[in-house]
Symmetry: C2
């Protein structure tokens, strides 16, 4: 195979341009090259402890002469999605999707019109909707994310995501990706890290656009998942039906459990922004050798949002970064990323 | 990054030898090259319909000018393990492991000594053990595969697998891999297919040696999985505890469900050998474009085993290839691999 390709009948330019598209093996790369790469790849990061922590981690884990070298197959990095890779305010995108699906659901099942919590959602009263409890939200999620085939769900959700606009920026949610984090994903992948999304949100929802948005294929998306059921449709065609039965609750301890189920290896790097990511970072940090744990602190009301309540930021109940989590980060050597100070720009369109 | 590597200060021989280790991009490869590759890669296959089906499938899905071309990220191939990749007789290896764990389990929990089905297993009476029902086996599996941390399980099972020998060949189970299937795995991977194991056996058990045995990393192993629970051990260290609670039953329809959960894409190729693989092959075949579905028929009592009961082979209850499955294969255009006729050799040591 190799002999053939390196033989005479392959055009040299074609060969070079093809290789140029390939990820470069770590063994070819010197520390100087890495620093150069990081400088151009992490272009939206201000110099500082956060940027340096990323560069140092990649250096010690990819340099073959380093005692903390990690063989490429073991290079796993996991990223929370909401509030870590894209905007989660005023509400998680997948919850917004579920809430907006309620009128369509009620059209199909009119009996739900007078039943709570669907009645409150239909009222459109934002104050009342904001007061819905977790069990209420779970009912809405179960009703809107299941009861259809996986293909039907994907088609519906894709259509919604293409059309939906964020109320503040009037832009697609898929544009509200943090450019600095996109650069981290690329930098890690260029260094043979396999990047995963590990989200508390719906797995099928998060998978939908992950390849296009982040360059992360569906098989590298771990999320809260309902069971599916293998059935034959009326034409005898095999199909997978989304059941209203929770299979994996991928938040808090469930993130570590989901990582074991879906990846089977402990990550070397983990990124989050809330108490839902605490256990994923703890699990990552409990491994041997060099590990990188980072938390995005939303402290930039002007360019994005400011909420916490770490460091006295307001508690908005969406993406809760408590003071206790902040203290654990300090104690355990996790790096807190200040959006305000560490990020030169937030979005690609900035 | 690329400029640097193609610059003057990289030794040309280092560069070439590094590239030689990389998978070659499909766009460089002609049909003639593919046939040449297949000839040397599928060396343990006799010429015939089965070998040709594999070569034809790879050609039409990787040739950019083919109407059935499949973009590399979508190239997913799934393989059952027991009876498809390695020997499953006289008993599935992971069940053998569980049965052999019973004495150790009873040592730790003496109360189980007089409780069925543990009592029967301890008796050593092979005829009685062979009569254990599925619920009996499930009890044994739950008791021996759970109740410990994931690290403890991995350490114990690895130790067992290193030491265990197959009663017929007196060789490690990891040597009883079908060489022709190993060649198919390599041939598909050389053509940018991502290869997965999708097994009815325990996921953590199958993951243990998958990288070394098949070149398949743990994150590409889908299997029957128990839930884990995130806990802190007595030293406050985060740990995942294997719970006696079935999460994914990865057999029959569960294989299609497991593929959706863990991969999120429909495979283009699927390989099995029993009724437990039927739905995985149906699900694969229900996709558009070119799909490859293959079933290994164990019809070689001399070199391996002969069981079925398709084509009048004996029904041994381990790896059931029924006549109905055989008929479905014929009707739906799946390819049946005859071990006796299609495989030049069975094992690497043959």
């Amino acid at each position: 195979m190799k002999t053939h390709v390196f033989g005479a009948h392959v055009d040299r330019r074609v060969l070079l341009s093809s290789f140029a598209a390939l990820p470069l093996p770590a063994l070819l790369r010197s520390t100087a090259a890495l620093a150069q790469d990081a400088g151009s790849t992490l272009a939206s990061w201000n110099d500082g402890a956060a940027k340096q922590a990323i560069i140092d981690f990649v250096r010690v884990t990819t340099d073959r002469s380093s005692p903390k070298f990690v063989p490429p197959p073991e290079r796993i990095a996991t990223f929370d999605q909401d509030g870590t890779l894209w905007v989660e305010h005023p509400m998680y995108t997948f919850v917004t999707y579920c809430l907006e699906r309620v009128p369509i659901l009620v059209k199909a099942k009119p009996g739900l019109k007078e039943v709570e919590p669907f009645k409150t959602v239909l009222s459109g009263n934002q104050d009342e909707i904001a007061k819905l409890t977790t069990p209420d939200l779970e009912k809405i999620l179960a009703a809107t994310l299941t009861g259809m085939t996986v293909e039907e769900f994907k088609a519906e959700a894709t259509k919604w995501l293409d059309a939906a606009r964020h109320p503040r920026w009037n832009r697609s949610y898929t544009e509200l990706i943090y450019q600095p984090m996109l650069e981290v994903l690329r930098f890690l992948r260029a260094n043979d890290y396999k990047t995963y999304i590990v989200t508390g949100g719906g797995q099928d929802f998060a998978r939908m656009g992950s390849e296009k948005i982040y360059g992360i294929p569906p098989e590298q998306v771990v999320g809260t998942a309902s069971a599916t059921k293998y059935e034959y449709d009326k034409d005898g065609r095999p199909t997978l039906f989304k059941e209203p039965k929770l299979m994996l609750f991928d938040d808090f301890g469930g993130k570590a459990e989901g990582i074991h189920l879906m990846i089977g290896r402990r990550p070397y790097a983990a990124f989050g922004n809330s108490t839902g990511d605490q256990q994923m970072l703890e699990y990552t940090g409990a491994g041997d050798g060099a590990r990188l744990m980072m938390l995005v602190l939303h402290d930039d009301a002007q360019r994005e949002y400011a909420y916490g309540p770490a460091q006295g930021l307001p508690d908005t109940k969406v993406g809760t970064f408590t003071q206790a989590l902040y203290d654990e980060a300090k104690k355990d050597g996790w790096t807190v990323i200040s959006m305000k100070n560490d990020w030169k720009r937030i979005f690609a369109f900035d």
